[in-house]
């Protein structure tokens, strides 16, 4: 994983806004290119450098989607469980299957969110866009 991807991920964990993440990545790229040093030499480990920025309030979009999916999965599971119990029957095979499917979907969503949070913002990718 590139230093920029790792820094973007750690900044998103701190809920730093995307516009600020682009700004920070541009600063790292500028100084690394000017000094001829690797980003880690100038800024230290990505996780440590990210801690120097104050925490924001809004989670990244992938994280919000993952949390939303988790909430929906929990709600469906709870409703399914309650319906099964009110029928005074043991947990049915169909219900277990639903829970496993939801769990599998949730794992996929969380992995996808982690991968998405490691991406560098599109505005950062090309040098020509860096000043817009």
């Amino acid at each position: 994983m590139s230093y920029y991807g790792s820094l973007a991920f750690n900044l998103r964990l701190r809920r730093v806004p995307e516009s600020k993440i682009v700004e920070v990545l541009r600063e790292v790229r500028e100084l690394s290119q000017e000094s001829g040093q690797e980003p880690e030499q100038q800024f230290g480990p990505a996780a440590t450098y990210a801690e120097k920025f104050p925490k924001g309030k809004v989670r990244s979009l992938p994280t919000r989607l993952a949390v939303g999916c988790l909430a929906i999965a929990i709600a469906i599971t709870a409703v399914d469980f309650i319906l099964t119990m009110t029928r005074e029957t043991h947990l049915q095979v169909g219900s277990v299957r639903v829970i496993f499917v939801l769990l599998a979907i949730q794992v996929v969503v969380v992995i996808a969110a982690i991968i998405a949070d490691h991406r560098v913002p599109p505005e950062f990718r090309t040098a020509s866009e860096a000043t817009r």
Partner: protein
């Protein structure tokens, strides 16, 4: 300790004043500020120290910036002092001069008060 290496505490204390003094001479981008700090004898200050500091100064309205295209090189973030920043620099510089005199005096006569007692 190397002559150009200072305790991090000292560096943290003087970095605001010295960085503002560099910007008081004219606008500059990050690498120029770091190189100037090095040539002034502050050793190898890293970008990981300078940029968060400059970001805080911007939040306080003391420093402003713009992105400058300088093809084929990378885009550069150029910083300068705002009017408020210039006033703050003058205040800090004046305070530093008084503190410097006080500390120098204390170091040259560290026991004078104790001797009186």
């Amino acid at each position: 300790m190397d002559e150009t290496e200072w305790s991090s505490g000292w560096l943290r204390a003087v970095l605001p004043l010295v960085s503002l003094s560099i910007l008081a001479r004219g606008e500059a981008h990050g690498y120029v500020i770091l190189r100037t700090l090095g040539s002034l004898g502050f050793g190898s200050v890293k970008g990981g120290t300078l940029y968060p500091f400059l970001a805080r100064q911007q939040e306080l309205g003391l420093v402003d910036h713009r992105w400058e295209i300088d093809s084929p090189g990378p885009a550069r973030k150029v910083f300068w002092l705002t009017d408020r920043g210039r006033r703050e620099f003058e205040r800090l510089a004046s305070e530093w001069r008084r503190l410097n005199t006080t500390v120098a005096s204390a170091l040259s006569h560290p026991t004078s008060e104790m001797e009186k007692k």
